[in-house]
Point group: C2
Chain length 347, copies 2
């Protein structure tokens, strides 16, 4: 069990009675080697417990089979779903995604990106941490490494983005609320340093305007994009003079928080206050009441990102089109009509 100096292709060559070049060819599955020789070599590989040194190999041929996926919040189930989609397509292409978490910390993100690059990844799929500085990806672009953003975009960057149609999603959700008769609407959670925030808030505002809700009947409360943030948002809103009767939440986590806080006050989500989420994570349909949410097809987005990355690698380019994924509102039980106006659609 003493860890002997690990075997190299030379050891295998000696063991199998061939040259190192032959071993190398076998490892690459070259057809130039006589089958019996290949067999002999493979046996030797097995016998000595050889492990391929990709670092050494990359020194020559410079094309690794790993890509890095850098995400800002591993505990958000949304990203797990997306990762699963990605993995599906990468697996069939023989490439392995390594996932690294930045926990929404730009400094950590810097470290993680550095490490990934040093490791010689073939490409990077990144959901940038909040507060990422504009120059954070300059090194990567300079190195000509393929990179795509998912979900979030940076203010003035030309890196391709794979993201859902946030504007339209928010528009749909808001229109739904208004259709239910609500006249005092809130937008809960998120913060203005995120481009996504402006997209979703923009959709909310435009829908309000287009459907005749005055700006002063509209309330925007920033907050953490978590359950905790949602709780805080609701407290703030209900403390106001003329509180809203419905809210579009920045994401499902916020929506869950809002529902929790409603319950705590003895209010019934859906009946006493309408709430709609964003992302439609799997939990949404299992909540009580089931959460109406904007479905963004996370797995599909992941697949898309993977495909774009694959294409970039193959065509050795660093450019790609943005991809804005279709969204749709899935209506469940968390948005009843406004009780006061009583003028909503039939539930």
């Amino acid at each position: 069990m003493a860890s002997r100096p690990k075997a190299t292709i030379l050891d295998i060559a000696r063991e199998a009675g061939v040259s190192k070049s032959t071993v190398s060819l076998v490892l690459q599955g070259s057809g130039l080697i006589r089958p019996e020789t290949a067999l002999k070599v493979r046996k030797a590989i097995e016998d000595v417990g050889y492990v391929y040194n990709r670092g050494a190999a990359n020194l020559r041929k410079a094309h690794s089979n790993v890509i890095g996926m850098v995400i800002n919040d591993l505990t958000n189930p949304f990203f797990a779903e997306m990762a699963v989609g990605m993995e599906r397509v990468f697996q069939s292409a023989g490439i392995v995604p390594f996932i690294a978490n930045t926990a929404e910390n730009p400094v950590r993100q810097e470290e993680v990106l550095k490490s990934l690059m040093e490791q010689g990844v073939a490409g990077l799929i990144v959901s940038p941490a909040r507060g990422t500085t504009p120059g954070a990806f300059r090194r990567i672009e300079m190195a000509g490494l393929p990179i795509v953003f998912t979900m979030r975009r940076l203010p003035e960057s030309r890196i391709p983005v794979i993201a859902p149609d946030n504007h339209r999603g928010a528009w749909l959700a808001t229109a739904h609320l208004i259709g239910k008769g609500h006249r005092r609407l809130a937008f809960f959670g998120g913060s203005s340093d995120l481009v996504v925030y402006h997209e979703r808030l923009g959709g909310f505002r435009e829908a309000c305007e287009a459907l005749g809700i005055a700006k002063r009947d509209t309330l925007v409360v920033e907050g953490e994009t978590s359950r905790k943030g949602g709780i805080a948002c609701l407290e703030t809103a209900l403390a106001m003079a003329d509180p809203p009767t419905a809210a579009l939440c920045f994401n499902d986590a916020v929506a869950f928080g809002v529902m929790l806080a409603l319950r705590k006050r003895g209010l019934e989500p859906g009946a006493d206050f309408a709430v709609v989420g964003f992302d439609d994570v799997v939990e949404a349909q299992h909540y009580m009441p089931a959460l109406t949410s904007v479905a963004v097809d996370s797995a599909g987005l992941g697949e898309r990102a993977a495909h774009v990355m694959l294409k970039m690698i193959q065509s050795r380019t660093t450019r790609a089109e943005d991809h804005i994924g279709a969204v749709n509102l899935v209506v469940r039980d968390s948005c009843g009509p406004d009780r006061r106006t009583g003028m909503g659609d039939a539930a």
Copy 2:
């Protein structure tokens, strides 16, 4: 933007007017270099957009700063929580964890492990996929690479394990149910190819026996360790002649499924049927009703695993003690007294 051939330490050396050795020394933060020289070098590094090639470096010094974390189910929030704990301790040690998902697929696991090893990781923290063959880690052990298992252990392996006290956790939960007056108990979810399953089921059985529940009043339903599995388990159980009134679930996901299925049948979890989960993921406290569950301190387990790994790496050993983490039952609202016997504790 054309990706010029990437810079090496020789380019930097030329740029800064020093030798490659000097550059190497600067990169390693050696104190042997005159500060002004070091500064000059660092400037050159910045100017040419250099990225360190760790593969080449490892060729000589063979100690990378990355460890691989291989998990069987990325979508289980439990692992995300654990990963966060790990990251905390690794970060301060300057090592970067890369996470790879096997989606409970032994073949995928094989690929992922292979890739990680080839990449030259310093160690591996693995939660093995279901159905992992006994020999799956032979290569890794042969290579003398530090490896620890988390959560799951393999039948006849001497690889150190970091896991919660499953037996005791199940015992506590079962005793709680019995204390509430339940006399017909079920164990839901999981499958017998998992060692953890036997540990938890063992705790359940022993508690039943010790506290006077006859084996024939006991029901065991295997099933997927997911919400879906939980739903199926409940259906099966309620279809029986003399159904149970309470269930210990293999994990929280199963418990959520059971609660869902109860609701769907018009039964109220807690009041009409008691359910307790295992793991105590964050969702547990937010469910309706809040789920009573066995807390395993996932983040703490992650930290522990990371510490053990660090120690193994430093002492260049491949041996370590198992660590069985303390558990405790957190009682919430999902287990009322048995209505029929009416002999439980006061709720």
